[in-house]
């Protein structure tokens, strides 16, 4: 018994070192972008040439860049709103609608994870051309709603499932209509998850390149702008300064969204530890994309 415990401990030690190495592998290439964005050389190479903020200076007054940023922000906000609206309604009806149609919609809504981005891109390209819209901001918004949809559905579904059934039943028993129950009871209870889903959907859209590449008209998004700059070796440092700013914002939003999600789940768990059903959640509320 004692020996087994020692073995486990030692195994844990080796594994711990491995996990540390894995984290370094995960983060090191990403962290090179901020490192070289401060390097006073046009090339990303060692030895470092000295500290400079010059490349961040080139970001100011760049009208193509600020235009792309504005496009990305607008598209991100609209697409995240659409994806969150769909995520909330689809998962609510999936759990409480008790109809095959609602379950089918929920299953299809999570399908885009099993379709490569290139195919999502071309299918929507055909669709928007057929509709007469053509490649445009609207087309990118539609594409990003699709790409973000599995995330919002999974986040909202696990959130609704974690709200004790009795709360909704009590509201209905006391005579509240479906609308009132949804709007005054279920939505306020899931507000942290809704904000979290919105933020994650916004991030997905803001960073998305593969689908936007097919659907962009004359106004590029920020990732498309970066792509167009990658051809010019001279603009490499500017791309790294821009990339650093994007990474910083992404980390911040993702961290906030995760905190909101966990706080919301922890609060429900405290209030109702007894009858919790959470089909898509682990103990800590990690997302599971697949119910295999």
């Amino acid at each position: 018994m004692n020996k087994a415990r020692v073995d486990a401990k030692q195994g844990g030690g080796w594994l711990g070192a491995y996990v540390l190495a894995y984290l370094i592998f995960l983060y090191l290439p990403i962290l090179l972008i901020p490192l070289f964005s401060f390097n006073n050389s046009i090339q990303a190479a060692f030895p470092l040439q000295g500290f400079t903020l010059e490349w961040y200076g080139t970001l100011y007054g760049n009208s193509a860049l600020s235009g792309a940023l504005a496009t990305s922000l607008v598209i991100g906000a609209i697409a995240a709103t659409g994806a969150t609206l769909c995520g909330v309604t689809v998962s609510y009806m999936d759990l409480y609608g008790r109809s095959p149609l609602a379950a089918t919609i929920s299953a299809i809504a999570r399908l885009p994870i099993l379709i490569p981005g290139v195919i999502v891109g071309i299918s929507l390209l055909i669709l928007v051309n057929l509709a007469g819209v053509g490649p445009s901001r609207i087309a990118i918004v539609l594409g990003h709603v699709l790409v973000a949809l599995p995330t919002t559905v999974v986040v909202m579904r696990s959130r609704f499932a974690a709200i004790p059934k009795t709360i909704r039943e009590a509201a209905l028993d006391l005579g509240a209509s479906d609308w009132t129950t949804f709007r005054r009871v279920m939505l306020p209870l899931s507000l942290p998850a809704i904000i979290s889903a919105f933020m994650l959907a916004f991030l997905t859209s803001f960073d998305e390149f593969i689908v936007a590449f097919f659907l962009a008209g004359t106004e590029p998004t920020l990732p498309l702008y970066i792509w167009s700059q990658l051809r010019f070796p001279k603009s490499l440092p500017t791309v790294m300064a821009l990339g650093t700013a994007i990474l910083a914002v992404s980390f911040l939003i993702a961290a906030l969204a995760e905190m909101l999600r966990h706080r919301g789940l922890a609060a429900t768990r405290r209030s109702a530890p007894a009858n919790l059903s959470k089909p898509e959640e682990t103990e800590r509320g990690e997302l599971q994309w697949h119910s295999t």
Binding site: Y22, I108, L127, N129, T292
Partner: protein, 295 residues
């Protein structure tokens, strides 16, 4: 009598049609129009001839005949499958020990570790690929670091523009996808099973091989699927770090809808990719059933 009434709630009154309609509308529109109808369009276009118009002309199998008979498409498809397969293998095998540590050893660090491991998932895919371009370039980070430290005397071209570069970059980009499904599967294994095994005299490795590994297979298969699907159709990574020797099927589809401007043929390639993915999904489903999915 009253206890029965209390424990058996009345059947819920069916919700109002207006409410149901409004709640099903947004999701219904998106799923049926943007997903099913749009995919149907790709399928339809794949059977049309290219005359430069949006929906092509006539009904033809010619696109599929070309895909099936031209050795170029066989080469590229097999290469895509090979690269995506190796990436999937690499991500799943390297992620497994991490997920194992999270499930059984992480203790109070678990929350922080999970957070750190999922954070890159939400950062720009393009930037993660771009990072590898500056690492592997001729006058890039790896070459200059090796020369600076005196290991090599001159830079090598051997890093960038190789299939190996594509595999490493994709494996890095999709690493966060693989950990969560495996971790979830490991975390839901009842601890009593492991205690029973150890009480009955199983050595740690035996209980890993006979209990932990088989029980975590559904998670491993789910992880393999979420890594394989996006990588098999990828065109960004081959374009940035792959060079001409690592053209993938996604690159060809993108070219048909861009420079080559033969949409029906591009649609046929896309249908072929979806069939390949469907086959993989079916194999995974079958394997999952054999392992007796617990979810």
């Amino acid at each position: 009598m009253s206890t029965i009434a209390a424990t058996q709630p009345l059947p819920e009154p069916r919700s109002s049609p207006g409410f149901r309609f409004a709640m099903l509308l947004p999701g219904g529109l998106v799923t049926f129009l943007l997903i099913l109808f749009a995919l149907g369009l790709v399928f339809f276009l794949a059977f049309r001839g290219n005359d430069g118009s949006l929906l092509g002309t006539g009904f033809t199998f010619a696109n599929f005949v070309t895909v099936a008979t031209d050795p170029l498409y066989w080469t590229v498809t097999l290469r895509s499958l090979g690269i995506a397969g190796l990436v999937t293998l690499a991500t799943v095998v390297t992620a497994y020990p991490v997920a194992y540590y999270l499930a059984f050893h992480a203790g109070r660090w678990r929350g922080l570790l999970l957070f750190l491991l999922t954070l890159p998932f939400w950062t720009s895919y393009l930037l993660r690929v771009f990072a590898w371009k500056i690492v592997l370039a001729y006058n890039g980070v790896l070459n200059s670091a090796l020369i600076e430290s005196g290991i090599w005397s001159e830079p090598t071209l051997a890093f960038l523009n190789t299939p190996a570069a594509v595999i490493v970059t994709l494996a890095h980009a999709y690493a966060p996808f693989a950990i969560l499904p495996i971790y979830v599967a490991l975390d839901t294994i009842p601890k009593s099973l492991l205690e029973a095994a150890s009480d009955l005299g199983a050595k740690p490795f035996t209980s890993f091989r006979r209990i932990v590994l088989p029980n975590s297979m559904p998670g491993v298969l789910a992880a393999a699927l979420v890594v394989f699907v996006p990588t098999v159709g990828d065109y960004v990574t081959p374009a940035l770090v792959g060079g001409p020797a690592s053209t993938m099927i996604g690159t060809l589809i993108q070219a048909e809808f861009g420079k080559a401007n033969d949409w029906p043929f591009g649609a046929a390639l896309a249908v072929a990719v979806m069939l390949v993915i469907l086959a993989v999904v079916l194999v995974v489903r079958f394997a999952d059933r054999r392992y007796g999915s617990r979810t």
